[in-house]
């Protein structure tokens, strides 16, 4: 068996086994002595060092194993990870709007307004870096307070929170209704 042939056999074994294989097992499979197998492994290692190889060889104690070269990870990501098209769901938009207008606000208060548990939504918004922890409320349990991030301002194209469209429209409407009721009451008397 030539050094090349030995290297090829070792390569085939490592390829199939996936896991690490002891040098002793290789000697046995190839029916070669340790010295020869070591030389074949060295040959293989040098072959993998060339630019045209995407595979590498790692040595662990008395075993060796094939692995993908880390320089190749960027290509692997493109194949193994299908790009996710994430968009904000209605639940996330709702949660975000509450946090934007009522910040700093606790998870519990968000839940109170939405009427459903919103932990997941808040966590997702934190993951997306649209919402962040602002500190803790000085109350029993010291709950976390949440508010919007700079990324939120950038994404929505505003310089500061003051630029958020005001809620006055609603407020005004409410006041008007209240006022009308008061007048009615007075007229009743």
């Amino acid at each position: 068996m030539t050094k090349e042939e030995g290297a090829a056999a070792i390569e085939a074994i490592l390829f199939t086994m996936g896991d690490s294989v002891t040098v002793a097992a290789l000697c046995n499979a190839l029916d070669q002595d340790l010295k020869d197998v070591r030389a074949q492994i060295k040959y293989l290692k040098e072959k993998y060092e060339k630019a045209d190889s995407g595979i590498g060889l790692i040595e662990l104690e008395d075993s060796i194993q094939l692995c993908t070269k880390s320089e190749m990870y960027e290509y692997l990501i493109k194949v193994a990870k299908t790009p996710k098209k994430i968009t904000l769901t209605d639940a996330l938009m709702e949660t975000l709007s509450i946090i934007a207008y009522k910040q700093p606000i606790t998870r519990l208060d968000v839940e109170r307004i939405r009427g459903v548990n919103s932990d997941h939504a808040v966590n997702r918004l934190v993951e997306f870096n649209l919402v962040q922890e602002l500190g803790r409320l000085d109350a029993p349990g010291r709950p976390l307070l949440f508010g919007t991030t700079e990324q939120f301002l950038r994404s929505f194209g505003v310089k500061s929170l003051e630029e958020l469209p005001s809620l006055d429209a609603v407020r005004v409407e409410e006041f008007k209704q209240e006022a009308e009721q008061e007048i009615n009451v007075k007229l009743d008397i």
């Binding site: 996936g18 990501i77 938009m93 934007a100 009427g115 997306f128 929505f156």
Partner: protein, 250 residues
């Protein structure tokens, strides 16, 4: 009985027919229907009665054979082109097609024998690749979301919340749970400290009724210690606590 075992090797009526044709060394294009039908029926009779599914398929073929046999006895039919039709033609065609696939099956089997000397690898994605999270594309993430929409959603939420308020129940009065007033208790304890200068915790508790009152009193003592108004000592675990005031007498 021996026949039954033998019968099981036939995959179906066509398989059995081909076997009979082969055994009798007959040309497939010129099947002596009478003879084959007889032999075929012999097999059918020997068949297991319980395997109805298979038996029925064999019976259908038997009927077809008998049908062909009858047609052979009658004057030959002539088709549109004026040619004589062989009643066996359809069966022959079926047999040939079946025979061809049987032959290909053997060919494929041979290929399979030779092919599987390769070995493959299991998928093995490095952890670094698996754990990779792509950066968030905010344009896609937000889609058509904008400030106006955010505002709209929030206002809709507020309205929904107002709707939820029960107009009758919301006007009911509340029955407050009895509670210990922390401020009152603080004043009381502070006054006690000023009065007694040095005293034991047990002594202080003498005038406290409920468990809640005791807890609140203890909290007030802890607070007073924290701000440095008092010093406390305890000789042993679970022992009484001695409280000494640091506040100078007025």
């Amino acid at each position: 009985m021996a026949l039954e075992v033998k019968l099981q090797v036939f995959e179906g009526p066509l398989d059995l027919l081909l076997h009979l044709i082969d055994k009798n060394k007959i040309d497939i294009y010129d099947i002596p229907i009478a003879m084959i039908t007889e032999q075929y029926m012999e097999y059918i009779r020997a068949m297991k009665k319980d395997d109805m599914e298979v038996t029925s398929e064999f019976l259908v073929m038997a009927a077809t054979l008998v049908d062909i046999k009858c047609k052979m006895l009658l004057p030959k039919e002539v088709n549109e082109e004026g040619e004589e039709e062989d009643p066996r033609a359809e069966l022959v065609e079926k047999l040939l097609e079946y025979k061809m696939y049987k032959f290909m099956a053997d060919e494929l089997r041979e290929r399979q024998m030779n092919a599987d000397t390769h070995m493959y690898r299991k998928k093995n994605i490095p952890d670094e690749v698996m754990s990779y999270e792509e950066p968030i594309d905010y344009d896609t993430l937000l889609g058509d979301a904008n400030l106006a929409k955010l505002n709209e959603i929030f206002q809709a939420l507020l309205r929904r919340q107002e709707d939820k308020v029960d107009p009758i129940r919301s006007k009911f009065g509340k029955i407050e749970k009895e509670s210990v007033d922390l401020d009152q208790k603080t004043l009381y304890v502070k006054a006690y400290i000023r009065e007694h200068k040095s005293f034991s915790f047990k002594q202080l508790l003498e005038k406290q009724g409920s468990k809640v009152e005791i807890i609140v009193t203890f909290l007030v003592i802890l607070e007073a210690m924290k701000v440095g108004d008092i010093q406390i000592e305890q000789d042993e675990t679970f022992g009484d606590i001695t409280i000494t005031s640091n506040v100078a007498a007025e």
